[in-house]
């Protein structure tokens, strides 16, 4: 009876963890992709990347990622998530120094990571095999 209760608890725990991870990962990557796409549309049409709007949006993007990264760290290997944080930090720096080309490159990488991180973090055939 006691073992049955433990097993039930384990099953519930496993299910809850899997569900939480999937919601967190897909929610984070979807939101990040959306925000970076919005940022892309703003920056592609502007000459400078050091405007108040772009800088704020870039900072918001970076803060959003940092908050979510703290939660994702419970589920995903820290090393697998490093690149996103690095690119977002670079974007802040490029925005400050108004180097549009590097800024756009980093933004493209961020968009790319949003798609490919699903393979690393989420449930996918590539992960399974």
């Amino acid at each position: 009876m006691r073992r049955g209760i433990c097993i039930t608890f384990i099953v519930v725990f496993l299910f809850a963890v899997c569900l939480l991870e999937q919601i967190l990962v897909s929610g984070t990557l979807t939101e990040l992709k959306q925000q970076s796409q919005e940022l892309y549309e703003i920056t592609i049409n502007s000459e400078n990347v050091n405007s108040q709007t772009i800088f704020e949006k870039t900072s918001n993007l970076k803060n959003f990622w940092q908050e979510r990264e703290n939660l994702l760290c419970f589920f995903i290997n820290h090393k697998d998530m490093q690149e996103m944080g690095i690119e977002l930090t670079k974007m802040i720096s490029y925005s400050t120094s108004n180097t549009k080309e590097e800024y756009m490159n980093s933004l493209e990488l961020v968009k790319y990571y949003c798609t490919t991180f699903n393979h690393i973090m989420g449930l996918s055939l590539q992960n399974l095999i």
Binding site: R3, C6, I7, I10, V11, F13, L14, V17, C73, F74, F75, I76, N77, H78, K79
Partner: protein, 232 residues
């Protein structure tokens, strides 16, 4: 470093919990699927221990998944003979009254030397003494000797002996075992008075005191020889 220490402690407690949950069979003679499980658990536990970048859940989740899967497998093997045969196999008679079953040992992929080693481990050095030898599903060999080679029992010699019971440990390393105390139908005073008869005034000095139903007491103090006392 503190992080690593804490991680090691958490994983250690979890692995202990996992083995306790799997039952005593896990620690004794293992079936093939249990042996596989033990090997995997050992490896899984070490992954998040020393590598801080790996989340602790990466060790916890696989361990708990294996516990659950083990529970499912053992339930299925307990409730289904067919499933039990698929997972654990069946015992195979390797020696019968006609001698060694060559087809059986070929199917089991063992050599004659392996068979002899197993029979010697069972206490029989001469194959002529063996009537049946069965290779169990956990790899051990059980031997049934021929009647003329089997150990003599009291029954064979028509010797009648009194019934005995399992010895109860009453005092172990200076402490009363409360559950066994109640089973022995005697209270602490009885034992303290018994000890006083042998000039022992404190139970702290007692290494072991056991009692069996007919009234045989094994008493040993720390760093002293034992005494066997008959209460009747």
């Amino acid at each position: 470093m503190i992080t690593i220490i804490l991680r090691v402690l958490i994983i250690y407690v979890l692995v202990l919990f996992v083995f306790r949950l799997m039952g005593k069979r896990q620690l004794g003679q293992m079936q093939p699927f249990e042996f596989v499980l033990t090997l995997i658990i050992a490896d899984l536990a070490t992954i998040p221990m020393a590598e801080i970048s790996v989340p602790l859940l990466n060790g916890i989740i696989p361990l708990l998944t294996l516990v659950f899967f083990h529970f499912v497998l053992t339930t299925l093997t307990r409730n289904s003979n067919m499933f039990s045969k698929i997972i654990s196999g069946t015992p195979v008679i390797v020696i019968n009254p006609d001698g060694i079953d060559y087809d059986a040992i070929k199917k089991l992929n063992i050599t004659i030397d392996d068979l002899f080693e197993a029979i010697r481990s069972a206490g029989y050095f001469n194959i002529c003494d063996v009537q049946y030898a069965i290779m169990e599903t956990n790899g051990k060999v059980s031997v049934m000797p021929k009647p003329e080679s089997s150990p003599v029992t009291n029954y064979d010699l028509d010797i009648k002996k009194e019934k005995t019971s399992l010895p109860l440990t009453i005092i172990s390393e200076g402490k009363f075992m409360k559950d066994n105390l109640s089973l022995s139908s005697k209270d602490k005073n009885f034992y303290t008075n018994l000890l006083k008869k042998y000039k022992i005034y404190s139970i702290d000095s007692i290494l072991l005191l056991t009692i069996t139903k007919p009234g045989e007491v094994f008493l040993q103090q720390k760093n002293k020889p034992c005494k066997i006392i008959n209460l009747e």
